[in-house]
Subunit: 268 residues, 4 copies
């Protein structure tokens, strides 16, 4: 069965998995892992990539070859999602994304304002401030934030196209630390909810989808697996499995099987 | 990438998912769900099926058409795994499986001795007793048991072809209640470890595989989903995703990203 | 052994448990429960109490009799901690606490700005804004907030006397939903960290203390227990037990006992 | 409030905490820790203690001075619970306890048959066999077992005076790995259920009591804390707190506070 698509800002994507482009051993591995993941949206840290270096083996050469901006060309299947990783203030993030716009790669933008270089937790106060400015300037903003239902609601009210609460600290691989907060965010959100950061393995991604999330964004879980390409495949399938399980409607939980259930045909 | 296969008693299976045949709305749904799951081994409760009823719409008519015994025929892809669900003593279970052998459907057998009709927890003492007899009689025994490392070791020493500890009570859908016990069982087992009972949704199956289990057996999680066929697909992919994640070698967990990690190319 | 005390803004308290005064069946029960809890700091919702009603059976009559402001009088052991429950903006909260100051009950204040009447999650953006104003005006501010390490750091930098992250939504009784966030807050905080909201039973309070928290604030867990006075006793002991366990230094965790440990004197 | 007592085989104990006597730095520390714990029942590994050495500083000299057998003497408050730690077969365990009876220290006995020297998981098959013999011989048997509801039921049916399922492997300090199994055991048991092994810190003991357990047995959690005497105090209070919380009847859990709850007097 082909799955329902993810729609962000009126545009549909068949994959619900968004992946990063950093931390790989080589650009060749990056490409193979992204292909194996089936991702259509690819995030790139504007402040960590040398945008002018399009030499062979550079990330920019790969993106130039495979990503499209605006409309997809021949084989250019990837939609770029530039992000502001490494920005510590609203001002830095806004300026970084204005630059992306000038470069023509700001169809969608991931807003990330970091609050602390050690833990990489987001600064939600600055994120809200930046989101207000960016939405006013017409950006399609996907903000990374802590799993705070009030912050998510505010970001939605500001006009963000999705909200991207964390599962756990960036790069921790700890999985969803607080499914309860996530489920409350999902209960109230009217825009897509995409779990961003903290996923460590396939089941983490499946759990996010089963909770009802619209997508998952990850980088380290794939790039720092021992075999990134195989893990990318695992993630692709886990996101699909989780989405299908959500749509299929899971069995109810109970303390144990009901003794009064009909025995005919009961097989375990 | 095609996955490594599951080998039980010297025979290989490409699917690591084993499914039951009970609790479905119809035999037609049973067939579609099993096909969607990709399972090759199909378990059937000998005491709950009318083996003599091969009329259209009966479970036996389906099994006769699709299952093979010994060698696979044209389109007969399923391997039957008769089980002793509903047996409360070693003696009952042994007699039931001797009957299966007479019927020619005892290539592999699932030994299940229930200790309590309310919770359906297994009676491991009786299971050990039955396993000793059955192995001596030449059966290839796959015993269902509690997640007890000592019981699993004894079953292995007796000569069982695999061990099948529960994740949670039969029909509860609670997922893996005790990953710690399971990981200790896996650390010591030299036969395949197949999680049997308690899986409720796709991520449960993925977690089992990530822990290192060799397979997962389930029935209610598929049959009692709102859409069994879609859930069967989800389970198929979840088992694959979990296996691939296991083989890919997950990233290490940490409290948060290491502040001293190289920033160049760091993208989340 | 007498335990180390909790110090907030230079003043020491022998109890690490702070309790609310609402939701009880009667003022008589309130008094007995608070006494049983051993709490010295008592929080009162300024917007939900009729401050002018000091008739017998009123909360104000109890507080007038038992609480002190500034210096403790004969038998007046309780320190009042007025809170701004029910405030939805920084402005409302600030005005409410200015009123408390005029009434002479603002030695310590609990700042609470709610973001949503349904979930009662705090609005951290508004809380930060109010905290800045209140600290400038000389209040000793104890802010309630989500378990966000960056917000906690900002509140500390503003000059708050403690930070009070939630364990779970107010009134949910779910216990500590995210011990990981709490442990990161504790790792970095230089002011007391008091878990506020979400505690449901005694072990929740013990866990908070074992993680290293300096105190626990609760209301519903005591007031809505079937027997509030007995639960208050349980909470008193659980906070002490958790604190002592923290100070005692727990045994290391391991997969199982080390097989090579000396057997002489090994008793379990 | 004085707590309800623990009754085993018709005899009441005011403390619900049972402690071991091994792994301490000295006999002097053992005595102080046991006193701090408030325990009345003290378990001793018959096979690891030199019963003939009653010299000063020996464990036997302490037990001779403080423990009573049968009736309590002046200051001899401890009831000895000899255990069969280190026994690997029913036969070894039975012989060890017969010896204890000859020595006059077998008022209560803890039956422990280990299945594996590495993990120290119990061998429940052998435990059942030994329990049958010991009960027939008139012993008051407290068996250590895995958290298996069927094994617990069988031990009860055999005539054991209590059942003592593990929380986690001996010496692991991992706390209750499977509260679900424990709650099912508690739902069905008609004899006291005492959690034995695996407790690591105070909240673990509180959780066991909140689940409804009748007591907790521990050794390493106290003896291997950095400060055993302080941890013993913590454990004493945690067991009391957990028991009181159980009796007090905890507040119901909910996703968040009900928005429709009366606001008057609502304070958090």
């Amino acid at each position: 069965m082909s799955l329902d698509s993810l729609t962000i800002a009126g545009k549909s994507y068949s994959s619900r998995l968004i992946v990063g482009t950093g931390k790989y051993k080589s650009v060749e591995e990056t490409e193979r892992a992204i292909d194996a993941s089936g991702a259509e949206i690819i995030t790139v840290a504007l402040r960590r990539v040398d945008l002018s270096d399009k030499s062979g083996g550079s990330l920019m050469s790969l993106l130039t070859r495979r990503a499209h901006v605006g409309t997809a060309g021949e084989g250019k299947r990837w939609t770029l999602l530039p992000n502001t990783a490494g920005c510590y203030t609203a001002d830095e993030a806004v300026r970084t994304l204005r630059l992306a716009r000038e470069l023509g790669v700001a169809e969608l933008v991931k807003l990330e304002v970091i609050g602390d270089p050690k833990t990489l937790y987001p600064d939600n106060e600055q994120t809200l401030e930046a989101a207000k400015i960016l939405v006013k300037e017409g950006f399609t903003v996907l903000p990374y934030c802590i799993d705070d239902p009030i912050v998510c609601k505010k970001l939605e009210d500001i006009g963000c196209a999705a909200v991207m609460p964390l599962a756990a600290p960036i790069g921790s691989g700890l999985g969803i630390r607080n499914p309860h907060n996530l489920s409350i965010i999902l209960e109230h959100a009217k825009v897509p909810v995409i779990v961003d950061a903290g996923v460590g393995t396939a089941s983490d991604a499946a759990i996010a989808m089963e909770l009802g999330c619209d997508g998952v964004l990850m980088n380290t879980a794939i790039a720092h697996a021992k075999e990134p390409v195989l893990m990318a495949e695992a993630m692709k399938e886990a996101v699909q499995a989780g989405r299908k399980a959500r749509l299929a409607g899971r069995m109810p939980r109970s303390r144990y099987a009901n003794a009064s259930s009909p025995l005919g045909g009961l097989i375990e």
